[in-house]
């Protein structure tokens, strides 16, 4: 207790409490609209392809990875002067060693590229949820438009801050009658061939320009499908007909009934792989993002801080888990069962 009464800790404690009080009384953050699909940024499209904020984040993550990687290998030195080169070499060496422990030297060498690409890309895609401005800078639309397009029912008031517009904490909920009216109006506008716009917006919602890429199911399911199909391609290439046997395809004769059963299980587990891989990544990052939203909504200062630390860890862990599971699937696909030779 006496330690807490010394000037420095005391000042910190009082400052912290003051921050909490200020944030509770004056700085209230609206709870962002939580939407499962990546949100289309209004007025940003290439031809027919509507660009979503998660797509922007994906491109950003790509650019970050590529820039860092190319800077790291721009001029390779035997005695590295640049820290970046050092870090990349270190990462490469550590993970190659880890993969060697799991799958042996030859396989580690062959797939360390896939592993590292997944790891780096997902790492920056996950960590993007922590960057200030992402999820909070974007286009402000009337809630009616958002309801007609995405089914959002909660809007907020707006306030002008110089050249910028910001949402305030005044919540507006669309009642059932209002929703009906909006639906009808939107249909009419569509029939007339013009863009629906309410006469007098009740509230506004924010569509951020950038939202962490892995909070879009399209990305995670796409990646999971890619790596699972990839693992089958690799397995078929390396083991040939023997590989098809593990799924107990009826083409291969001389099967025991139990093999058929195991084969069906293996077949189902391939779908489970896709689902668990994609939803694990998506669920963790999406839940983390919602957690950060809610914490900032409750008390905007100090309270979210430990959760940022947590999300930093979760972001790395999920990227690592996705990458290492990919490697393990690849390894399993090329692993010829010892029992197969005896059949």
């Amino acid at each position: 207790m006496s330690k807490l009464l010394r000037p420095k800790p005391l000042a910190l404690i009082i400052g912290g409490i003051a921050l909490l009080v200020i944030s509770i009384l004056f700085v209230r953050v609206p709870l962002p609209t939580i939407l499962l699909p990546g949100e289309a940024i209004p007025g940003l499209s290439i031809g027919n392809f509507q660009i979503t904020n998660t797509f922007v984040a994906t491109i950003l993550a790509d650019i970050i990875v590529l820039v860092l990687a190319f800077l790291a290998v721009r001029k390779m030195e035997d005695v590295p002067e640049s820290k970046l080169q050092n870090i990349f070499e270190w990462v490469y060496e550590i993970f190659e060693g880890m993969l060697t422990d799991i799958g042996g030297k030859e396989k580690a060498k062959a797939w360390v590229g896939v592993f590292l690409t997944l790891l780096l890309f997902l790492l920056f895609a996950n960590w993007m949820e922590l960057v200030p401005g992402i999820d909070s800078i974007g286009v402000i639309e009337p809630v009616e438009v958002a309801y007609a397009e995405k089914g959002v029912t909660v809007g907020y008031g707006i306030k002008h801050l110089g050249p910028f517009i910001t949402l305030t904490n005044d919540q507006v909920k669309l009642s059932a009658e209002e929703r009906e009216a909006i639906k009808k109006e939107a249909e009419e506008a569509e029939a007339a061939g013009e863009k629906y716009h309410p006469h007098e917006p009740k509230g506004y919602v924010l569509t951020p320009y950038v939202r962490a890429a892995t909070t879009d199911l399209n990305l995670t399911i796409g990646l999971a499908l890619l790596v699972v199909i990839w693992s089958h391609v690799i397995g078929f290439r390396r083991l040939g007909a023997k590989y098809a046997r593990r799924f107990a395809l009826p083409v291969i004769t001389g099967m025991k009934p139990i093999d058929l059963f195991v084969g069906i299980l293996e077949f189902i587990s391939e779908f489970a792989k896709v689902i668990s891989l994609s939803f694990r990544l998506f669920g963790n990052v999406f839940a983390g993002q919602v957690l950060l939203f809610v914490m900032a909504f409750l008390i905007s200062f100090l309270l979210p801080l430990p959760f940022f630390g947590l999300e930093l860890f979760v972001g790395f862990m999920q990227a690592f888990v996705f990458a290492i599971l990919t490697f393990i699937y690849f390894e399993q696909a090329t692993h010829s069962h010892a029992g197969d030779e005896h059949h």
């Binding site: 790291a72 590229g113 690409t117 890309f121 399911i221």
Partner: protein, 163 residues
């Protein structure tokens, strides 16, 4: 599925996007890093072997030098031993010479002393005889024969020398 935001266009674009990223990194980045690590490993191994060889060579050189030194030392020792043996011999010779000379000198001295003694004795004989003659002449007068005189003296002297 649309409520979950699933859309085939996005799905495919994400897959293509990731695959492009993979190809770019695979083509330009990973081989460079792996090459660098491999090269460095090789160079370190080479350096270690070189250092090992150098160490072994130095060890051999040291052994050779030690053997040479040993040989030289043995030779020197031999030379010293020969020299000292020679010196010993010379010393012996000199000593023997000296001893011989000393012996000769001593013998000469003894002989001389003997001769001197004989000479002095003879002298003394003569003087004593003359003294005795004189004494006897005084006692007996001049009557005594020369021959008898001599005989008496001879007797006396032989008695004296016998005593």
């Amino acid at each position: 599925m649309a409520a979950l935001g699933l859309n085939l266009n996005y799905l495919i674009s994400y897959i293509v996007n990731f695959f492009l990223l993979y190809l770019l990194l695979k083509k330009f980045v990973f081989p460079a890093i792996s090459q660098m690590l491999e090269d460095r490993k090789k160079r370190i191994a080479e350096g270690l072997t070189a250092a090992d060889a150098a160490r072994r060579e130095a060890e051999e050189e040291r052994k050779r030098l030690m053997a040479q030194l040993e040989a030289e030392r043995a030779e020197a020792q031999q030379r010293v031993a020969a020299a000292s043996a020679h010196a010993e011999k010379v010393k012996e010779e000199i000593l023997a010479e000296a001893r011989r000379e000393a012996e000769q000198i001593r013998t000469n001295a003894v002989l001389e002393a003997e001769a001197e003694k004989q000479r002095i004795l003879a002298e003394a004989h003569k003087q004593i005889a003359e003294l005795a003659m004189l004494a006897a002449e005084r006692v007996v007068g001049e009557g005594l024969d020369e021959q008898i005189q001599h005989k008496i003296i001879e007797d006396f002297l032989s008695q004296v020398s016998l005593n």
